[in-house]
Structure formats: structure tokens, C-alpha cells
């Protein structure tokens, strides 16, 4: 059964008081719980937050499923989200995704690679079109101005780093 850490619970408590209405805390608390749950929002996460925040589970689930940054299934250590809209689509975001997935050993978008390190998602415009193609790993600052070669190196570097 999922439980937030004591620090996590204290965070939820402070977020509940931060905005004008307590519902406004749902997004930030979901981020926190997703991070503590290894990168995805499980039904247990929803149930736990519902009890902790005293907000109906259906309302939290509704938010979790509406916004794309909440993962509905387990992801690898590095959730690689490649922009494939318009400029990034034109300038190679889709080739980049295919090449990186192959290198990482992911057969399908959303799958976790056999070593547990990678999941790939195609995402819509991330607002960095001048550095296309680009991607975001988890919720880190962007990785920009890529091409296939740089993308493959990125997978190898992350594998070396993440395997340790």
C-alpha cells in the first residue's frame, strides 16, 4: 500500500494551505506522490492522497488522468519525452524517438526497457522550437538541439549513469 514519506505528508499539509481553495493543491501533491511512487500515479496513490487531503478520490483521479504529466503506468528511471509537434516534427523529432527507442531496447511508446531504465513518450509542443528537436527527461530542464547521433549518445550515457 502506497504511503507518502513523513516529509511528503508535511508537504501535502503545507500545499493544502497555500492556495485559496484546497483543491488547488491537487496538482502539486500528485507530482510529489508520483515522484515518491517511482514515477507513476497508481490507484493506491489516488486513494492515499484522497484520504490525506480529504478530497474525493474521483476528483483527484480526474485531475491525474486529464493532465499528461501524470503517468498512468509504471515508467523507467528515465522517462524520455520527445517533442514531435510541428517544428520538432519537421526537424527530426520522430526519427530521433525511433532511433533512441531502438538503442534503449523499447519496442513501444510507454513500455519500460528490459533494464528498467527507459520509457519513451511522444509529447506535444514543449515550447522550445528554436532548439528542435528536443526532449525532456522526467521533469528536468530540457535537453535541446539534438540529432540522431546526440540522441543515441544520450541513451548510452544515461545507461552508464543509471546502471550504477
Amino acid at each position: 500500500m502506497f504511503q507518502l514519506s513523513e516529509e511528503g505528508k508535511a508537504y501535502v499539509k503545507s500545499e493544502l494551505a497555500r492556495y485559496e481553495s484546497k483543491q488547488s493543491a491537487i496538482i502539486r501533491c500528485l507530482y510529489r506522490a508520483q515522484d515518491e511512487n517511482g514515477g507513476w500515479v497508481s490507484p493506491e496513490v489516488i486513494e492515499h492522497l484522497s484520504q490525506l487531503m480529504d478530497i474525493p478520490a474521483a476528483q483527484i483521479d480526474e485531475v491525474s488522468t486529464f493532465y499528461t504529466m501524470f503517468n498512468q503506468k509504471p515508467v523507467g528511471k528515465y522517462h524520455v519525452q520527445v517533442c514531435c509537434t510541428l517544428t520538432c516534427g519537421m526537424l527530426g523529432g520522430r526519427e530521433l524517438t525511433d532511433a533512441m527507442m531502438k538503442e534503449a531496447g523499447c519496442k513501444k511508446l510507454g513500455d519500460v526497457s528490459p533494464d528498467g531504465l527507459f520509457t519513451f513518450s511522444k509529447v506535444e509542443c514543449l515550447g522550445s522550437c528554436d532548439t528542435a528537436p528536443m526532449l525532456q527527461i522526467n521533469r528536468d530542464p530540457y535537453t535541446e538541439s539534438l540529432n540522431t547521433e546526440k540522441g543515441l549518445k544520450l541513451v548510452r550515457d544515461l545507461r552508464a549513469k543509471g546502471g550504477k
Binding site: Y19, E20, I27, E62, T85, S121, K122, V123, E124
Partner: protein, 437 residues
């Protein structure tokens, strides 16, 4: 006329991001000046400046502020930093380079409209800029520019940051309000407009990042002074995000009214060697595309873009050259809108799906005779029939691409391959197959 650094005067200085560097370059002096003015005087200056919303709709800012009730009822100021219109990245640059400029503009604007509480709604993916803003807000609070009795004026304004979590629709102001209230970011029917009934059913003003930052310059130079750049109906400067097939993509500030082709050739270094211009999307993916011919005499202002049947939008210019297949480019756009439709209204929810299926069908060699006319018919039925403008935004690129590049669509349907040699075909995905969400 060429690039001017009016709002972006100090953006090249790394120290401008911090409070000390911002103040050393004149920062927060305009807040001091504004706090000595009457709120109505500030509103009058903003009206006189002719400033129009820089988020996309181009609505006059002073007029929007004027819709607030005069009864002193509690109200809110919200900054729309949900920048999600494909092609747009200028707000991100502004927040990264000059977070205090936005904060100063917001405190001045909050004082002018009588809001004691202001929020910046930033898209969840912008974790980098969000961290920069959090730090700047903390600095400004500590220095007494945010909070109670700002600079001894008796004016109270609280400011906080709210994080989205991935939804284009939250850039629509009522969708943004729904999201801020802790719900799905679904737009609400207007009227009532947010200025009358917005966040928590209270009067609310929603302005774009660049709009609020411009208020600082309006206080400095006065409404008339702000008009030294731009045209009568498109006053001031604007930051444009240019991307696509050019040598030097990026964010550049130019006076409104600047020639599109000068912008592409001078500021952005022109097209890549050996390429020919095919078309330009002038205001983000929702703006109807301009053919190469239409680009030649186009100017970057609201009235010229409207006269050409397009729009200035968020100032996101996407340049497309002859090496790209228009059917494929449109397929990324139709995919986007299908994925981002919030699902409330049938013409949008179903229309974006049908359009996406037909365009992707053509790309995969499954196009049928009559598909082109069917696309035009569906897109036409998506316009003006929904709660918000997303459906229109999804229909306009379809209508303009299909009308202006019809022969490429017909060719693809007939020959089952692109007219542009070397076009790669990618797997067709439903929104549910895109990844872990």
C-alpha cells in the same frame, strides 16, 4: 526598422535574472513610480498605449481591465504563462532572462486593477523557468515588493506561482481558471467573462507574460511614449519566436509592422542554402498558413495579418521550405489538436478526431477520392460551434493547408506517396498510444 531591444534591453546580461542585477538596471523604479499614481491613471496610460494582449487574441489590455466591476469586490490578477501554442517560446525566454520584469509588471497591474492576490500560472513542463520564478518571487518578497504595505504605500499584493501539468487547453483563460481551481482544465461558457466572474467566481483579469511585462515600460514612457514603436492599431514592440527551416531560429524583438521577409532574412539569417520558401505559419499552429507569395508583402502586425486572412497570434513564426511535405506537416498539427481537445464539445472532440484520421489516412497511402473536400467540410463545421476557440484553432490550419496546397493533398491521395521526394512516413498513433500517460 530592425530588431529593437525595448522590453528585452537587458536580456543579454546574466545578472538581470537576479534582484540585485535587475535593480542595478533600473528595476522596480517603475513600481515605486506607479504606487504614487492613482490606479485609474495607470489604467488610462495602458489604454492610451494601445497595448494589445500578447498571448494570441490581441485584445486591448486597457479595455479588458475596464470590464472589471467598480464596486471594490475582491478580485484576482492571473498571469498566463501556460505558453503551449506550437511554435511559441518567447514567454519562456522572458521568464528565464527577466523574472523580476514580469513580477514588477504584475504588481503594478494588480495595483491598477485592485487585486490583492495574483498568480502566475505556468505550464508544468517549464520546470526550469518555474524554479527561476520561485527564486525571484522569494527575493521580491524579502525586499518588500510583494506582500503587505508595499514600499510603505499601504498597498497589499500577494503573488504566488501555480504549476500546470501538461494541457494546451489551460492557455485558454477560462480553462486556466478551472485548472487553478483544482479541476480539469476545461473552459467555461462566456459570458460571464472572467472580468465579471472568474477565479472562484470573483472578478479576474488574465494577461499574458509579455503583456504584463510591457506595463513596466508603459509606466516609464507613458502611454503615448510606448507608441514610439509600432503602428496605430498595433502599438509597441513584440517578441517573436521564430523556428523551422531558417539559419538562426530564436526569439527576437521587433516593432510591430516590421516586414515578415526582412525578419526572416535579416534577424533569422534567411533560409537554409538551396531551399525555397513554401509557406509561413505566422502566429502559432492555429494561425492559417501564408503561402510564399502572400509572405512577400506581409507585415508583422494585427491588421495586416487579419487582412491576409491569418493572425499574428502569439507571434510564433514557423518557416516551411520546399523540402517539407505539407500533408505531413499538417498531420503533426491535426494530431496535436486531437490530442489536446478537452472533450467537452462534440464538434471539437469528434471533429479533431475525424480530421486527424483522414489526414493520417492520406499519409499512410489510404486516402480516398473526395477526402480533400471532406476535410474542408468537417473543418468548416468545427468553426464557431464550441465553448472555446480550440475547435476553430484546429479547423483553421486544415482549411488553409488544404486550400493553399491542395495539389499536394490530391497527389498524395492519387499516387499514395508524397509529392515531396524523401518524405518519411511515421506510425499513426492514437493519443492513448503516445506513451505513459
Amino acid at each position: 526598422m530592425a530588431e529593437v531591444k525595448y522590453l528585452s534591453e537587458h536580456y543579454h546580461k546574466p545578472e538581470y535574472r537576479g534582484l540585485a542585477g535587475y535593480k542595478a538596471n533600473g528595476g522596480y523604479a517603475m513600481l515605486e513610480k506607479a504606487l504614487k499614481m492613482q490606479p485609474q491613471q495607470i489604467i488610462d496610460e495602458v489604454k492610451a498605449s494601445g497595448l494589445r494582449g500578447r498571448g494570441g487574441a490581441g485584445f486591448p489590455t486597457g479595455m479588458k481591465w475596464g470590464f472589471l466591476p467598480k464596486n471594490g469586490e475582491p478580485r484576482y490578477l492571473l498571469c498566463n504563462a501556460d505558453e503551449s501554442e506550437p511554435g511559441t517560446f518567447k514567454d519562456r525566454v522572458m521568464m528565464e532572462k527577466a523574472p523580476h520584469q514580469l513580477i514588477e509588471g504584475m504588481i503594478i497591474s494588480a495595483y491598477a486593477v485592485g487585486a490583492k492576490k495574483a498568480y502566475i500560472y505556468i505550464r508544468g513542463e517549464y520546470m526550469g523557468p518555474a524554479a527561476i520564478l520561485e527564486e525571484a518571487i522569494a527575493e521580491a518578497k524579502k525586499a518588500g515588493y510583494i506582500g503587505k504595505n508595499i514600499l510603505g504605500s499601504g498597498v497589499d499584493v500577494e503573488l504566488d506561482l501555480y504549476l500546470g501539468a501538461g494541457a494546451y487547453i489551460c492557455g485558454e483563460e477560462t480553462g486556466l481558471i478551472s485548472s487553478l481551481e483544482g479541476f480539469k482544465g476545461q473552459p467555461k461558457l462566456k459570458p460571464p467573462f472572467p472580468a465579471v466572474q472568474g477565479y472562484l467566481k470573483k472578478p479576474t483579469i488574465v494577461n499574458n507574460v509579455e503583456t504584463l511585462a510591457a506595463v513596466v515600460n508603459i509606466i516609464r514612457d507613458g502611454g503615448q511614449g510606448y507608441r514610439k514603436y509600432g503602428t496605430e492599431k498595433s502599438a509597441g514592440t513584440k517578441l517573436f519566436s521564430l523556428s523551422g527551416a531558417v539559419q538562426k531560429p530564436g526569439t527576437y524583438e521587433v516593432p510591430l509592422g516590421y516586414k515578415l521577409m526582412d525578419f526572416i532574412n535579416n534577424e533569422c539569417g534567411g533560409l537554409l542554402p538551396g531551399r525555397k520558401l513554401k509557406g509561413v505559419i505566422p502566429g502559432g499552429s492555429s494561425a492559417p498558413i501564408l503561402s510564399a507569395e502572400e509572405c512577400m508583402d506581409a507585415t508583422l502586425d494585427y491588421e495586416n495579418m487579419a487582412a491576409k486572412g491569418s493572425m499574428l497570434g502569439s507571434g510564433a513564426i514557423i518557416v516551411i521550405d520546399d523540402s517539407y511535405c505539407m500533408v505531413d506537416v499538417l498531420s503533426t498539427i491535426t494530431h496535436f489538436y486531437h490530442h489536446e481537445s478537452c472533450g467537452q464539445c462534440t464538434p471539437c472532440r469528434e471533429g479533431t478526431g475525424w480530421v486527424q484520421k483522414i489526414v493520417h489516412g492520406i499519409v499512410h497511402g489510404n486516402g480516398k477520392p473526395g477526402d480533400v473536400d471532406l476535410l474542408l467540410k468537417i473543418a468548416d463545421n468545427m468553426k464557431g460551434r464550441t465553448i472555446c476557440a480550440l475547435s476553430d484553432a484546429a479547423a483553421l490550419p486544415v482549411l488553409s493547408f488544404v486550400t493553399k496546397y491542395r495539389e499536394e493533398f490530391e497527389y498524395f491521395i492519387k499516387e499514395k506517396k508524397s509529392k515531396v521526394k524523401g518524405t518519411q512516413i511515421y506510425a499513426q498513433l492514437n493519443p492513448s498510444e503516445m506513451g505513459a500517460h
